[in-house]
């Protein structure tokens, strides 16, 4: 007898013509669920580090895909998709649209089956989503999560009863500990060979268009309430009616009859009423959501993130850079020497071009890894939602989500991990807007340039000048944000904030480390390719002679294509007071990395980099002479304009590469052009006004 809930057609994953996103014959499974139900934790537990994170087709929304070896029933290896959390298949955000598109097969073939995560502690929202999934007709396995939290509060869902109602396998599991995962393997193996579809509200059509789902909302809420009535585990203390009403918060009408009890969570003696302590989450929130204490804690957390991006990551970055520029470079030179190719342009290309690019990427990898891990810990613990509330009112004045403050604060340490922090923003347009504002946060690398110029041109007031530059950075972020919101981002507005607060949980470092590794590898392979390729191009510009009889790869800066380009660009900066090729070559170098601006300046003058402790230097004297000459005697105004240009133009190649990976190449290219244009206008304005003072 055929299964009434089995879809017609070939068994998924076995049709050799199916192919598609999972490879020929490889099944595709999608993890679907409401936010904070454990999808990403389960994904990490099932795939380990065999995963990649890429933008969903046509969007800048992250989509994680990994390989999962299902044990039992033929042991198929499937492709697992970690879809963004959604409350329904009627999308209200770009992220929810990605989930709907993935389930519908809009850009790729639809999944062969869905693993639907249902929150046993707060089942109403999950079951509402389940009713939508039922209409898709896709095979489903239900994973019941947070059952431990539910049991601790004397409630929960009976898996056997839920399976009887939904007519699909229901597995109770804890992604954080791994319990129940073997049963999930068996259930998925079974569904892949004998597909079973979820039974939703009676009489429901197969139409799951947004309009049809919206029209059916009342019927779905009634169905949700009935399912919870039939499956809820209630203890003696909570009481039947209040327990059902509690469990169906957000569902339909209140209970009209006493539901059958499935079991008792607590065996309290008859007649006693146990005193229930205020949950730890509530107690913590009384502090962490307090306007004063919560703000102080939030500031401390932001400071911690800033420290991760600077002090904590710095030694790791220096070690990685030293490894490649030291032993690895020596090894390559030695091998080339043995082969008879040492000392020429090939060694210069490999060591001075390719290896410099690899070293740059390698030095940023620990920083990105630490930042991804830090953000994941905050998210997994449940604290991230609280930061949103604390900072919401301040960020709202810029039309931004409260979580934008994390990215902006990190940006003052380094712009590259700040872009990673935009992942916390729930809306794609918000991520794009903040991603475009981050370059205006003055990173630590720019500080080195400000300190040098302030010391040389404003002796005795250097500290004040540096502080003014940081204030200018904040002003730029605010003004740019307001301008963008009034023009290209009119659709972005801070919606009224209504968020479900997740329970605080102890972060599971092992799974978070795996997830951070996957994201870091995504940076290395994505942005890293752009960085290495660009630095090879820079090497070529420096290595090719334009003037003089120099061998390839051994050319003074001013005689190279690089130097000729700097000389050609110099007149464009005359209105800003620094129309000299030394300054423009430093800006070109600064496009690659702000840390090497000073080194680039020193190289252009053929002098040593100044000692930070020294009060004067050969470089300083050369800069004074150059800026005084190029500005017609207004050296200080020119220096101020130069600092403003450093602040406002593109931060560094690594930031641009990460922007391209996250936001798209076209958007990034336009943003770079806009940044250079804005920086030029500001620099000219500062210089022209400065000459009048």
């Amino acid at each position: 007898m055929s299964c009434p809930h089995c879809p017609a057609g070939p068994t998924p994953g076995t049709d050799p013509g199916a192919g598609g996103a999972g490879g020929v014959g490889q099944a595709v499974l999608a993890l679907v669920g409401t936010p904070n139900v454990g999808k990403s934790t389960l994904f990490a537990a099932l795939t380990g580090v065999r995963a990649t994170v890429r933008n969903a087709p046509g969007t800048t929304v992250d989509l994680a895909a990994g390989s999962w070896q299902v044990r039992g029933a033929g042991s198929p290896r499937v492709q697992l998709l970690d879809l963004p959390g959604t409350y329904s298949l009627v999308p209200r955000s770009p992220d929810e649209q990605v989930t709907r598109d993935a389930v519908a097969g809009t850009h790729r073939r639809p999944p062969d089956a869905i693993v639907l995560l249902v929150d046993a502690h707060e089942p109403a929202r999950s079951l509402y989503l389940a009713a939508h999934v039922a209409r898709t007709g896709l095979p489903v396995v239900v994973a019941l999560t947070l059952a431990d939290v539910a049991r601790s509060r004397g409630a929960g869902i009976d898996p056997a009863a839920l399976e009887a109602v939904l007519q699909v396998p229901v597995v109770e599991l804890n992604p954080r500990t791994g319990s129940g995962v073997p049963a999930l393997h068996r259930a998925v193996g079974l569904v892949l060979t004998r597909p079973r579809t979820l039974v939703g509200p009676a009489g429901a059509e197969a139409d799951w268009s947004p309009e049809a789902l919206t029209t059916s909302a009342d019927a779905i809420f009634d169905w949700v309430h009935a399912v919870i009535e039939a499956t809820a585990i209630l203890d003696a203390e909570s009481g039947v009616e209040s327990g059902v009403e509690s469990a169906t918060a957000g569902g339909g009408r209140p209970a009209s009859r006493t539901p059958a009890r499935r079991g008792r969570a607590n065996d309290a003696p008859a007649g006693t009423r146990p005193v229930r302590a205020t949950p730890l989450t509530e107690r913590l929130d009384r502090v962490l959501l307090h306007p004063l204490w919560g703000s102080l804690v939030a500031l401390g957390v932001l400071w911690g993130l800033f420290s991760v991006a600077t002090a904590v990551a710095a030694p790791l970055m220096a070690w990685a850079d030293a490894l490649f520029s030291g032993p690895v470079a020596v090894a390559i030179s030695t091998v080339l020497g043995w082969a008879g190719w040492g000392g020429g342009w090939l060694e210069s290309l490999l060591v001075g071009g390719l290896l410099v690019g690899v070293a740059t990427v390698a030095s940023f990898a620990p920083l990105m890894g630490l930042m991804f891990l830090a953000i994941a810990v905050l998210d997994d613990s449940g604290y991230l939602a609280r930061v949103t509330l604390i900072t919401d009112r301040a960020m709202r004045r810029l039309g931004l989500d409260g979580r934008a403050v994390l990215a902006l604060v990190v940006g003052f340490g380094c712009n590259v991990p700040a872009l990673a922090a935009t992942k916390t923003l729930p809306d794609r347009r918000q991520r794009l807007l903040v991603g475009l504002l981050i370059p205006y946060t003055s990173c630590a690398a720019r500080l080195t340039v400000f300190v040098l110029l302030a010391t040389v041109f404003f002796p005795g007031h250097a500290t004040l000048v540096v502080l003014v530059m940081y204030a200018a950075s904040v002003a730029l972020v605010v003004v740019a944000g307001l301008v963008l919101r009034a023009t290209l981002f009119r659709d972005v507005h801070a919606d009224p904030l209504v968020i479900v607060l997740p329970t605080y949980q102890r972060p599971r470092l092992r799974s978070l480390l795996g997830a951070a590794w996957v994201r870091t590898w995504g940076f290395v392979t994505g942005a890293g390719t752009i960085i290495v390729a660009t630095l090879v191009v820079v090497w070529a510009l420096l290595a090719i002679p334009v003037h003089g009889d120099h061998p390839l790869g051994d050319v003074p800066v001013q005689d190279s294509v690089y130097g000729a380009t700097a000389q050609a660009l110099a007149p464009a900066f005359a209105p800003a007071g620094f129309g000299d090729w030394h300054a423009t070559s430093a800006l070109m170098t600064g496009f690659v990395a702000k840390e090497v601006v000073i080194g680039g300046l020193a190289q252009s003058y053929a002098v040593a980099e100044p000692d930070p402790e020294a009060t004067s230097s050969a470089l300083g004297e050369n800069l004074l002479a150059t800026f005084d000459r190029s500005s017609g005697g207004h050296g200080q105004a020119a220096a101020a304009a130069f600092m403003v240009f450093i602040l406002a133009y593109t931060p560094c190649l690594a930031t641009v590469a990460e922007q391209a990976r996250m936001l798209g190449r076209r958007t990034t290219a336009l943003a770079v052009l806009a940044q250079v244009a804005v920086a030029w206008v500001l620099a000219v304005a500062v210089f022209q006004v400065g000459t009048l003072l």
């Binding site: 929202r125 601790s152 919206t214 909570s238 949950p279 307090h290 949980q505």
Partner: protein, 85 residues
Amino acid sequence: MRLTEAPFGVPLRLTAVGVGDPLRMRELGLRVGCALEVTQRAGFGGRVLALGPTRIALDHVSCAALDVEPDAGRPSPRLCAEVSA
């Protein structure tokens, strides 16, 4: 009364929702007639509501757009002790 005027720890019923997408608010649990309790302040002007096991935080704009009334006939839906945290 506005949610911003509601006392803490008192059983309430939601009588009007004047913010956000109506269906999304229902999907989150905020439907007219539902039982809730204001447990604490949240940030600057916001509130945290308890709807059964669910805790929802709203900013000051959202709070000003929700109307509630006392639900004298229902006991306070206190949350259970959290053992695992």
